[in-house]
Symmetry: C2
Subunit: 234 residues, 2 copies
DNA sequence: CACACTGCTATACGGTTGTAAAATAGCAGC
DNA sequence: GCTGCTATTTTACAACCGTATAGCAGTGTG
């Protein structure tokens, strides 16, 4: 009987629907790369018609930018949460950050594929650029916070925070890319070990360009510390 | 007079035409990112009709793979040539490699944009995967050759070549990405300095995970050296 | 149960896409 | 100058693209 047929579709509140469309977008990126980003493909993945997308988002590129932000923030929150757990020393928290960074969920090639497509859009799309700037600033802040805590640890020589964060961030990104493009090159544990080595070298004062002059040992009041120079000496 | 009009097109030998189409493909990638990769766009950039592309290449994706290989090899040859010039010590050659890596030509955002698009295709296209494997192997071989020369230098502690090459490659890639996505974060000279710092730490034996046991000092014949372990200890 | 709200689909539009193949035209060689 | 080779253009095809909008249908409320 017609009255007893399943409904053709199920209505959902707009926020629920937008999240579902974002999930479908990320799933299409994983599966098909850049070719996954069409309203018909995303609609099919979400089980809705293509028209719903431009109903809920100003444009497809707005949906893509929202997806980038969702993925970035969820990964950063996951990593940050793991770094905060239970570790007592700054060194231990940094190590947990590395483990979270190279967790299986983050080394999923699908995540990396999605990231590549997002990155490739940054230079041509203002909304993507804005999302990148926000989420990257948050990521750098988290990393610098961990390095600042390390900086304050006993026995650690004083170092320049900003270039240290740059170098560590580069090492993390580079290893992540290597692990994603060439999964057989090394295991996640090897990547964590390489980063731990970097921390060991930093704590041993082995990066001449990152070192700051040590504090004088006296208890006399010292003048205001000079600001850290933004230029790394040659 | 009709007879005196310019010819409608100029014929070219197939190899010349293929190179021109590859150059046009790279130019379109620089300008438009992934959207640049259509036969009509590439044809317009090269000043020919779209049909010529599928005449000279089995498919558009074959042209894209050929473009990736051309770009990879030309950049690697340029870097390798600069690293070989005039530097006498292994340390100096490595430093020149860094300078070549962060040369303005390589930090061109257009190069990076092209690279991102190529990378995003590796996991979905067998021809792209094959090009990547070949050119990446060549790049790693060049890097390991430089590290091997450093390894033999006087005063340098023995280290594991392969994980050292992995870590250095990751740092280079990461800094290159950072410099390309966020050009204001640091200057090329700062990136070179960070890499030089990494070399200093390696030469100082500051990476515990990379160190090998030192050679015995006696002149007795030693048994064959054990093979370097592929697994980095935790 | 009827109705109103609004989430959602179906349809349409103008445009782009990659590939194939027939036809054209440049030009080297005789 | 003519001819044949082949580089290249032109045309066509089926499919996809993003967006807009009229109208449908789910469903909560009175």
């Amino acid at each position: 009987m017609a009255r007893e047929q399943q409904p053709k579709f199920r209505r959902a509140p707009p926020t629920v629907r937008r999240e579902a469309l974002i999930e479908a977008t990320l799933a299409c990126l994983r599966k098909y790369g850049h070719d996954g980003l069409s309203v018909r493909r995303i609609g099919a993945e979400a089980g809705v018609s293509a028209g719903l997308i431009t109903h809920h988002f100003p444009s497809v590129s707005a949906l893509i930018a929202a997806s980038y932000e969702t993925l970035s923030l969820s990964l950063l929150q996951s990593i940050d949460r793991q770094a905060r757990e239970s570790g007592t020393t700054a060194r231990e928290r940094l190590r947990r950050f590395y483990e979270a960074w190279f967790a299986p969920a983050l080394l999923d090639p699908g995540i990396f594929n999605a990231w590549l497509v997002f990155w490739s859009m940054i230079s041509h799309d203002a909304a993507m650029r804005a999302v990148h700037d926000r989420t990257y600033a948050a990521y750098r802040a988290a990393l610098e916070s961990l390095l600042r805590q390390l900086h304050r640890s006993e026995g650690v020589p004083r170092f320049r925070l900003r270039p240290a964060a740059i170098a560590l961030s580069a090492l993390l990104d580079g290893l992540w890319i290597e692990a994603s493009i060439n999964p057989r090159t090394f295991k996640a544990a090897e990547a964590v070990a390489l980063c731990e080595d970097w921390t060991s070298a930093l704590c041993a004062g082995a990066f001449p360009g990152l070192l700051l002059a040590p504090r004088p040992a006296t208890r006399r009041r010292r003048p205001r510390q000079p600001r850290e120079s933004p230029v790394i000496p040659a």
